[in-house]
Amino acid sequence: MTRDDGSPLLEAFGVVKRFGGLVANDVAHFAVCAGEVVALLGENGAGKSTLAKILYGYYAADAGEIRVGGRRVDITSPHDTRALGIGMVFQNFTLIPALSVFENVALFQKDLPAVLPRREILKRMHLYADRFRLAVDPRTLVRDLAVGDRQKVEILKQLVAGARVLILDEPTKVLAPQETVGLFNTIDEMRADGLGVVLITHKLREVLARASRIVVMRQGRVAGVLDRSEASEQKLLALMFGDAFDPPAPRPRAGRENAGTCALELIRVSTSGGRMPLRDVSMKVRTGEVVGIAGVSGNGQRELGDLILGLQHPGTGTKLLWNEDASRWPVARLRQKGVAAIPDDPLALACVPGMTVRENLALGSGTRYRVGLGVNWPALDADMQRSFARLTFPRSSFDAVAATLSGGNLQRAVLARELAHEPKLIIALYPTRGLDARSAAAVRRLLFEARDRGAAVLMVSEDLDELFEVCDRLHVLYRGAIAGEFGPEHFSADVIGPRMVGASEHADAA
């Protein structure tokens, strides 16, 4: 791979990738030259990761050509790309926690001799670590390292293996703010040394600060390429979300201030552990209103859901349910009190795949159908049939095994169970994910109806259109904290979108 003749280190032409009927990538041209940092920017689902995985050899493109150092290459697997000097650092590191830094780096090298050449490998490691500011003690076990240091090891192992192009997939997603400084120092050094860096991200601030060139993707295609000198937050947002964006006009809503008593209140709740601990979260959900949580998934939504549903207790702060301190209540008690959960992945989280639909319906119903040691099946059947009918769901056979149901039918069964007994607080986590348009609309209608009957509803979703349609109020969740609360007058992508990606407050003003 040369950098002397000026040809790009890595170049792709006409890359097309389809998954089933979905066109994940349709990229006419993409290139990385020596000494430059190319940012690959876009929303979730824009196709950035797919393109990167194709470049790395993880996926095979349906069409297109890839050139390394000006020469056309055939890439069939990551082994090929490793030999060609292309490296990729994923969000899930491919490190072995129980082994040391040295061992992880050594394992990754090709053509390792039978007896480990410790001194030689250590020498190379020190060389690269010093050069690129990736200093980590080689003897430390990876599991004892902080996430930022683990990432350094991932990068180091690729560099020691001879990578000249490094693709980083959302590298700052897992880092604490102070760790990102170290990462960007390393990226600066790599650029100075003539390496090529591809930075995949959805964070505007990073891009504007670090990238030499910005490639914005939207819906699988390149929406635009800007040099850093000509880029601004506004222009980037326009490319990311499209100026042909069609927001539903903010509906004048009857003010929901008289929405009723406070069903759920979180007072300065923080949690620990998990991927994205909550930080100082305060919010209220009242009866008769739908409160939405917007945000890119992975910013604490699951942790928030787990907290409210009783699977995790707050580290600090209080959780009130109808003004009672429910911070330490077990799950069963919360459900008994009328808290219902509509999960995003019903098969994994809300039912037992090997049991029948009927048994799954019984399982979530607490003590309601207890008779002696057994279950009052007739009463359960009757109630559940009524629930299905009221929700106008087509009834699947209760004898079918849950695993055989389609995603939509399973979600409907879970909804029928959760809504069967007029729950007073409904926590809906991405409730329409994976559903076709009609079913999704039906679910939204259900949430409306529940609200109108006096339930309090909290809905988490990534789909802004959906949130705007259903919610009376909206919070944005970013990195485990609330990044703003908005009423219907602010419901537009221009306002909410930037908050979801951590942009500054005045993005919409300029």
């Binding site: 082994h79 072995i96 926690p97 129980a98 082994l99 061992e103 394992l107 090709k110 007896v115």
Partner: protein, 304 residues
């Protein structure tokens, strides 16, 4: 402290610990590759009976040890085929192997019950005064002398060679290992073959060097003590040496204490290996240290 007592205990520890150490090292290699073998007791019995039978037939204890090693390897290959080749449940396969060992060793050993045979000769280092302290302590068979070097070799193999690194990677995260271009199954077969050899040798040592006889079931649970010892030693061959002396010495200590008039029940002493291991596990669990190879599986050591 009575020096004779200490010498006696040490000598017994070393003798008894050696067979334990071989079996432990073998199991350790297998577990480092991610495979737990509950049938180790069966392998040791096969080694003990084969070793004794071969020694009796050829009047050569060294032939006996080699035969035991081969038999152990062959038996463990059955296990390897089942768990690696057929992805069978490791616990069920291990227990089946254990019963297989009980039966096969009984069959092989039957004609030799009560036979007397050449034992592995004790080699005393030349130049030492016979019956002196040093001589009593340093007069062992070749397997005992080789035990420590073998442990060191295995340590070197696991931590200083490419094979060992790859094996440990497979035992930690086979998916990552596979993605890095390794071949988990080949490595596992190799590991289990070595484990079979070592287990067979450990068993042979009991019949051909320690007890000098064959009795059904004579390894008396050493296979399970070895499994406990692998955990106690945190999957590290060097710690296993210390642990083997400790666990092997329990019995010796008890005998010597009784001879010295102290009344310690042999049963209590024999419980110690298991109770100590359990205690160590509780402590690790408490401090959230999980030292086991990660892919050894939830089924054996995880709590999630």
């Amino acid at each position: 402290m009575n020096t004779a007592l200490v010498i006696g205990v040490l000598a017994t520890s070393i003798m008894s610990g050696a067979s334990l150490l071989y079996a432990t090292l073998g199991e350790m290699i297998g577990e480092r590759a991610g495979i737990v073998n509950l049938g180790l007791e069966g392998i040791m019995l096969i080694g003990a009976s084969t070793g004794f039978a071969a020694t009796a037939l050829t009047a050569n204890p060294y032939v006996g040890v080699v035969a035991a090693a081969a038999a152990g390897a062959a038996a463990n290959l059955i296990f390897a085929y089942l768990v690696v080749g057929r992805s069978a449940n490791q616990l069920a396969a291990g227990l089946s192997l254990m019963f297989f060992g009980f039966g096969l060793s009984a069959l092989l050993g039957r004609p030799f019950v009560g036979a007397l045979t050449h034992s592995l000769p004790r080699l005393t280092l030349s130049g030492l005064e016979p019956n002196g302290t040093a001589a009593r302590l340093l007069s062992h068979d070749i397997l005992v002398y080789l035990a420590l070097p073998v442990a060191l070799l295995i340590w070197w193999l696991l931590f200083r060679t490419r094979w060992g690194l790859q094996l440990r990677a497979v035992g930690e995260d086979p998916a990552v290992a596979f993605a890095a271009g390794l071949k988990p199954n080949v490595l596992r077969y190799q590991a289990l073959t070595i484990a079979g050899v070592l287990g067979g040798i450990g068993g042979a040592h009991v019949s051909v060097a320690l007890a000098l006889t064959w009795v059904e079931g004579m390894t008396a649970g050493r296979g399970f003590i070895a499994i406990a010892l692998v955990i106690f030693a945190k999957w590290n061959p060097l710690w296993a040496v210390a642990g083997a002396l400790l666990f092997g010495g329990a019995e010796g200590l008890q005998l010597q204490l009784q001879a010295a008039g102290a009344d310690v029940s042999p049963f209590i002493m024999n419980m110690l290996p298991y109770l100590l291991t359990l205690l160590v596990l509780v402590l690790w669990g408490w401090s959230r240290q999980l030292a086991a190879p990660a892919a050894l599986g939830r089924s054996f050591v995880g709590v999630e």
